[in-house]
Structures are given as structure tokens and as C-alpha cells.
Symmetry: D2
């Protein structure tokens, strides 16, 4: 029998993921702070909740609750807040946390759910909304093996591959933060390399084409190389404030573990500078404008 | 008729490239500071020179001289030094410079050869010795279009693709430095990300596998991710002092153009620290040990 | 009539300050988590409290409560915790917060006390315990002018000068954090300069003597220059974990205000590295050992 | 008998120093590239040379040649160039090099003069033109003890104190570079601290006054704190390109010795950014504008 599923958080990622589950035949209860977005999803078998705490177990059965939210505060609110679901979740149920949250919150979630006899799986994902719609996400999963095994059929609906990272949920969150750091650092690196070659007289697109046709033919280099060469950061695929939030989480995780990450500090610095320039509605790769401007390329490296 | 070719510099890269040219049927004159290495190449149609200046044009014909050497000083020596070839090169000949040299030397070479009625093509390459042996290099080429056109059949023997970067030779050298910077920066990024995840309890190989099977499936991430996870940097594929030399050239090019490259400074700093720890015989990716040690992982992130 | 004073927090700084107030003839109630330290202070007119909430107003009069504690958590605990004093403080009383705390906590304290009809003065201090004993502290004070005016006679007992920084309490905390940043950055600078000159062959003491007898004859340069040249960091004047805490507060304040402080990030990085090396019992200036070691001076720049 | 003195380089520093020597009764031969400036100095006992090589020894006596020039190239030119003085300097003469030059040039000068039987004293100075006029410079001196002893009466005319730094001339140049680094780093630190406090709402002058009346009452903090608070960088006391030159020498000396100086890299980066913004005619402390702008304070921290 298909488990009863609750999906909380219907931003562009959450909506695509929830839709996959519906399409795979799972009855779904959904919650979103802005109710209208939840109602757009309404379809056969989808119930819209007024509050996370309104979840209904069919016949006392256990439930799988997915959360896919913007930040720690939102996850805490829906889980432990006034109308949070944790207090109403039947024992044996599982919370699958897909958001990019702090290592520290992951630890607290794991402890609280364990105390309540509930399962907890940290399952942050790699991929953009298009990948989510196509079920092509990569899923970083950590939690009790039995819990992971039970959730794997659902994860298989959402992603092309699940990477099991052990029994400690925070490990998946650390790995996810490390991945986001690597993307942000790559953006910084590209911005610096393009500033150097552009100011020397090489067209940014020529340089990016050469790079991505030779040593760096990964999609991430192509995507961000083009954005920087185009100097075109709107509409944002991933907004600067979200990227800055992630870098803050990276730095906090590093600090808590006494790990030095000077590149993370540098990327954070450039993101802060970009925010201070009013770039909060642009893509996070618009930090390239800070690098360009510091080199006297005022309109971005792409237009010297 | 095949042009007469001189190949100067028979390190691991130069030897593989020279052999490709021989195998393609080009008669070759070769020079190497350590003559023994040149003699190992001896075969039908290969003449070993005592000095770069000993090159012989068949019937006053023009010549193509390739140089593939370790640094600026070596290129200057064989070109303009006491027994340098430039003074003996017939007009209409071409110097194809494949070494990773400074932008500034490239400019001086271009000027000197032009003054002497000789052609100059900057043609630094991307790829390791195995790629050179297989003719799979990527070649960044800049120089007069007519010169490039004339050399392209030879470049096609050496590389899988030539990227034409315009008429100004220094542009190819700038692009090459920018590429090496991006590899070095990627190493630094990986080192930091692995330090964070390793100290948090995730096995380095698990993290590298996840990365390179998902968002960063480029060969460079696989190669260096494995080296760092293995904490194994000998024998060196590319020695630390050579990497440090390249970063110095990057920083000098940036400084000359008033471009800011804080990540390049950071990577340079870690390479200097690695040299100060006596890692001069290790691979340049051994800078990861500096990152690991600063985070209290004394034997490298790979063995916490 | 002298106001009734409560002094909370009797570390080395707090004890020296409390003693000054006693000696100036002020009746004092004191509280310290470790009660023994409070009892050592017992003298005519000093009452030891079991809890911060035990404070007694003489005849309903208003009270001045000084807090001088290690961090945000301690200040929150004594103020708002289970046995916190805030709930028992008569209207018209004043909380004078001398600790180095976050800008954000200062803001919350100001709001809470104002709501309760109580005054709040942020009054962090510059100076070491010896300066406190001698009444030679510098006091950075911000709060309502009337509150500052009322407290100034007490501040005059503790410090040689009060710098009024306006009506908004968080300003004094920001200024204090900026001062601590400047001291930490100076330590980093000295460490780098001494590493350069020491490795070149100049005795560290000769360099420090020259510096402090010429362009930098400020006491801070003398004190820390000597510690680094001696490579002697125990017993600690100011322990590394406290310094690290301050840098974290600096970085958080900068982040909240979208200010970039790359040097603060760098100093923080070196402090983290020092913690990861097990230097938690040494003086914060022992970050110089990280700088020295990265330059291949394993026992500190002082002993090359 | 007073030795015959040649003074080469009559910029604002050199002129003040030469005048001190004239006033002390020393007959002087002077040379300056722009002859007019030399003629302004003309007075009883001052001879203006057409070329450095025109120096005349009175009766074959030995000579003391002071050089006070802008950079390595200028010092090399007057010493070893076409009309350089070295070839004409009688044995037993001494070259006193007061310029801020590279460690490496200092080494070559020492070797060349020693080979020629001439003495060499590295004697860079700390202080601005006003200090030079008043004979209040600090002089960092390194060279053979006998040479130093012989020059000391002249140095005593120029400075308030000579710091003897040993027999190896490059040590004095290293120490001088380390001092200039410390001043530049202090400027960076002040810029960051002022950006933080200014953006938080504290008037820059209030913060600088507090700093320099308490923990940092050194003249350097006062001078540069005021410039930054005023956001007023012209006319320049020390122009940005000269500061940038010094930072380049610092980084080169550090690199040659395998010493890591991340703060020096950072200051260099901000100076490059300032140059790229067209600040080449402003004081070097105008790097504060880069810090301010990165924090969204467009007209400098002083005017938020």
C-alpha cells in the first residue's frame, strides 16, 4: 500500500517534486504558507491543508512528511511552531527534509523526531526545478538505514540517483552545503578568469567556449560561464539572497567544526558586496559584477 | 612539401609532441639541454642539434621552430641567448611557442620576430603527456591569421582541436594562464570542501564520488578529487614548483592589467606554504595538505 | 544619595571594577555564577546574592545593575533567565552592560528594558584588568542622554574617560567590536611582518624594537610585538576562544549591516586554525604561530 | 675633514635631506633628472652635476654618494646606467642607498660595490618630508660595521635615530618594506573598522577620535584615521602608485623567502582596485574608498 504523504513547501522546487509524487499515483496532502499556490496543485487525490498540523493519518497509519522550504526558520516553524506537524505525527512516521538547512538544525530535528519515536531522513537535493520536474534530481540521503530503505521508493520518483551518506542525518546537510559551496566558488573562479582575459582583450564568450569545450565541459561551467559572459543575471535562476544564505550556512558549519574555508569567506564577501550594491533580485552569479568592477570593468566583464 | 621542423625542449610534454610529428612523417631537428633525452628520440629523419643555433634550412627554405620549455628563462635562452636560434632563422620562418610563459615575454617574442621578418605563433596547450602522445591536446593559438593557417596542419597532428584566439599572440598566453588558474582554484575548492565534509565524518571518497557522479562530472574534478581523497601526491603529475610558477605568472598578468584575482592570491599563498613545508617534489594538488592541516587534519583530509 | 548598585559577573575584569566601586564608597550587591569568587570580595557593604533576581531595592529605590560577563548567553541568562534580574528591577532602574556582546543582543536588551520602564546603557570598556583596578579604563557609552548622565559618576570611578556615542545602545557595542577587530588585525599584521623579517634573518626583537621606537609606539604594538617575538603565549592575557568569540561577533555585525571586512575574515580563519591546533589555552596572539608555520617557521617566528 | 658628498634624487624627500646636509656645512654635489629642481638647491658649496658620472673627488679622496629615488629602475640607472656613477667612484667610497628598493636590488648593489672595492650601506628611512626637513627621520641601516660607523655622523644630520640592523644590506630593505606593509595594513584595517561603524550610524570622526585617544594613540593612526574620516585624499602625501610599488616589493620579498602574507595580498588587491578606478593621483590611503564602496558606501565611509 502506498504510504500517506504530506508535502510542505510549494516553491518552484517543491511544486515540481510534489507533482512528480502525484503523477506516480501517491495520494498527497499539501501545505503552503501562501495557500493559493497549494490550490494550483489541486487534483485528484490532493488535499490542501490549512496548517501543517492538520495532517490526517489514514486509519492511524504512519505518514511520510516531505519539507522543501527556504530556510531554517521556515522548517522550524512548520515542524515545531504553533501549528507545526511534529506534535501530530503518528509514531513510526518519517520526516524527509529536502531543504538546504543548517547542520545544526538537522541535528536538532533528528533528535526531536527520534525522541518522539518518529523517523528522520535528511535528503537535500542537487538540481534545478527542471530537473525536479523530470525526476532527475540527485538526492543526498542520510538517516537510519531502515528509514532510508522505506523512503527510497519515493526518492526514486524524485531523483535519478540517491547517494546514501550514512546514518547521521547532518552528514547529508554538510555534503549539500559543500556542493553549493563548490558551485559558488566555481562562479567566483570564472568571474576572475573572465575579468583577466576580458580586460586583456579576449571576448568573454570565446574564452568560455574554449573552456567548456576542453577541460571544463561540465554543465555548471557552461551555465554560469554563459551568464557571466552575457552579463545577464535576470530573471534569476537562484537569487543572490538564497546563495548568500547558503554561504552563511557553509561558514557556520565550518566554524563549528573548526575548519578553515578561505574561499568560502571570499565568495561570501563578494555576495555581501553584491547585496550592498542592490543586486538582491539578480542571480547569485551576479557576484561576478563585483569582481569585474573591482578590476575597472564597470558593466561586468562581459562588456569591457 | 613538408616544412622543415625544429623542436626544442624534450621534457615529458615536448617528447610526446615531437614523436607525434615524427610519426606523421615530418623530418625533425631536435634540441634538448640534456642531450641524452634528445638522442633517445633519434630515429629515421631526426637530427640532434648541439645548439638551437645549429638549425639548418634545407635549401634556404623557411623553418618552423617549436619550443616547449619549462619557463620564461629557458625560452629566452634558446631564442635570444648565446646559441639562440632567432638570429639564424631564415625570414619567413615561424616560431611556435607552446610553453606556458608570461604574457610579457610573449609580447617581446612577437615584437622581435616581427622585426626580423619572422612569424610568431603563441600556441600553449591544455593536456597532460598522455593526451600529447595521443594527439589529443587542446591548442590555444594566437598570431597573424596567415601564420596560424600555415601552422594548422602541424597543430592538427598534435591536438584534437585548435582554438583561434586572434591576431595578438599574448592573448593565447593569457588564456592559458587563466585556464591553469581555474584548475588550481578548483583544487583549492575541492580541498576546502573535502576538509569540511571529512572533518564532519564523511569519507572523502564518498564525497568525491557523489560530486563527480552528479554536478561536477568533468575529468579534472575526478582526477584531483581522487588525489586529494587518497592524500597521495607522488609521483607528481605536475610538480608544485611548476604550479607555483604558473600562479606567479597569473598574478603578474593580473597586476599588469590592474585586474583583481583574490582567489589566485589565495591559491598562491597555499602553494607557498606547501613549498615552505618541503612539498617541492609532490604534485601541485598537495596544497590540499595545507588546507587540511589548517583545519587540524594533520595527515591530509583524506585520513582524518 | 548613592544609588544602590548590583554588580554581576566577577571574572578578572568584573572583580577589579566591582572593587573600584566598593572603594569609592558604594554599597554593592554582587552575583557570580561561581559563588566563591563573589565571597572573596565580601567586605563592608558588599552583599552576595544567590541569584540575580535576589536584588533588593532599598525602600523601592531604583537600582543600577552592572553586568560584566563572558558572552551573549551569560548576559541573557542573568537578565532574562529563570532567576534573571530584569523581571525584578524597579522602574527607573538602569542596566549598564559592560560586556562585549553582540549588536543584536544589545538591541534586544534596549528594547526589553525600555518596554519595562527601565533604562539601558551599553558601556563596553577598553583595557585589561590592571587598567580596571586603576580606574583607567576607556568606556564607550551609548544610551539615552539622561541615563548616561545619571551613570556618569559611576563610570568616572571605573574609567579615565567616557566616550559618549549617542542615544542608540548598539552603537557602543559596534564601536567596541571594531576596536577589538583593530587589535586582532594588528596582531595578524605584526605576525606577518615578523615572519617576513625573521625568515630573512633579522632577529624578531630587533624588528619589534625598531617599530615601537619609531612609527608605532602605541602600547598595543609593544605588548603584542613582544609576545610574538618571544613566541610566548601562556599564561594568556586574553584567551584565544574569547578572541575568536569577538571575531565571530564582528563578522556577524558586518554581515548584518552588509559591510565587507576581509581582514576580519582572515584573522578569524587564523584563529580557527589556531584552535584546530589545540591552542585554546594560549593568548589570542598565538595566531602568530599559524602565520609562522605557514611560512615554514615551525616554532613561531620568534625562533626561526 | 668633511667627506665629499654627492646627493642623487631631489624629490620632496631627497631635497629635504640634501638641504639638511648643506646646512650642516657639508659641501655637496647634487644630481637630479630634472635639472631645474637641482638648481633650486644651489647655494654656497652646492654643485649641480649634469650626470651622476660627473662626480669629482677632491684630490682623489673617497666620496659618499647618497641615492634617494623612486624605484629600482631609477637607482639602477644612476648607479650602473650609461652615465652611472659606480664606474667613476674611487675605491673606498661609499654608496648610501636611502630609497625603498627591492631586497634583490639591494643584494646586487652590495655585491657590485664590494667587487669594486667600494662600500655599500642600505639606509632606507621612515618619515615624511617634514620629518626629513627637521632631521627627525628614523634610519634603518645595514652594511659593514666600519662603513656604518663612517657614515653615522652624516646619518645623524638626517635622522633622530639610526637603527643598526646588521652587516647584510638587504636586511634594512626588508625591514623597511615590512614597516611600509604595516602602515598599509593599518590603513586597510582602519578602512574596514570605519566602514562597519559608519554604516551602523556612528560618525567616522567620533570613532577615530575615540580610537586615537585610547588604544591607538600613535601618529600613524591619527593621520590616516583623519584622512579616511574626511574622505579627503588629495593632495596626496604619498601617492597610490608609490604605495602599490611598495606592496609589490613586499609580495616579491615574501615570495622569494617562501613567507605567506595574506594581508599584504589583500592590501595589494585593494590598491589595484583603486588604480583601476582611476585613483592614481590620490593618496594611497584612498584604498579606503574601495572598502567603503564594497560595503555600499559610495562616497567613502566618511560620507554615508
Amino acid at each position: 500500500m502506498k504510504p500517506s504523504i504530506v508535502f510542505i513547501g510549494l516553491g518552484s522546487m517543491g511544486r515540481a517534486m510534489a507533482r512528480r509524487l502525484v503523477e506516480a499515483g501517491h495520494p498527497l496532502q499539501v501545505y503552503n504558507r501562501t495557500r493559493r499556490r497549494a490550490e494550483e496543485l489541486a487534483a485528484a487525490g490532493v488535499a490542501v491543508l490549512d496548517h501543517p498540523s492538520d495532517l490526517l493519518a489514514a486509519g492511524g497509519d504512519s505518514i511520510v512528511v516531505f519539507t522543501m522550504l527556504a530556510d531554517d526558520a521556515a522548517v522550524e516553524q512548520v515542524t515545531f511552531g504553533e501549528h507545526g506537524f511534529a506534535a501530530r505525527l503518528p509514531p513510526g512516521s518519517v520526516h524527509v527534509s529536502c531543504s538546504t538547512i543548517s547542520v545544526e538544525l538537522s541535528r536538532r530535528l533528528a533528535e526531536a523526531h527520534t525522541r518522539a519515536g518518529q523517523g528522520f531522513l535528511a535528503a537535500p537535493v542537487l538540481g534545478r526545478p527542471e530537473a525536479a520536474s523530470a525526476g532527475k534530481l540527485f538526492i543526498l540521503a542520510a538517516g537510519e538505514p531502515a528509514v532510508l530503505e522505506r523512503c527510497q521508493p519515493l526518492l526514486a520518483v524524485l531523483g535519478q540517483r540517491t547517494f546514501p551518506l550514512g546514518a547521521e542525518p547532518p552528514l547529508a546537510n554538510t555534503a549539500k552545503l559543500a556542493c553549493n559551496f563548490l558551485i559558488a566558488a566555481m562562479i567566483e573562479n570564472l568571474a576572475e578568469a573572465i575579468a583577466l582575459t576580458a580586460k586583456s582583450g579576449l571576448a568573454p564568450h570565446a574564452f568560455v567556449d574554449l573552456l567548456t569545450a576542453s577541460i571544463f565541459d561540465a554543465p555548471a561551467y557552461k551555465t554560469y560561464g554563459k551568464l557571466i559572459a552575457d552579463d545577464s543575471f535576470a530573471p534569476a535562476g537562484f537569487k543572490l539572497p538564497l546563495g548568500l544564505k547558503d554561504l552563511r550556512l557553509v561558514l557556520r558549519a565550518a566554524d563549528d567544526s573548526l575548519v578553515t574555508m578561505p574561499t568560502a569567506s571570499l565568495v561570501h564577501e563578494h555576495m555581501v558586496a553584491a547585496m550592498a550594491q542592490g543586486q538582491q533580485d539578480l542571480d547569485w552569479s551576479s557576484l561576478a559584477r563585483i569582481v569585474a568592477r573591482n578590476s575597472g570593468l564597470p558593466r561586468g566583464a562581459g562588456k569591457p
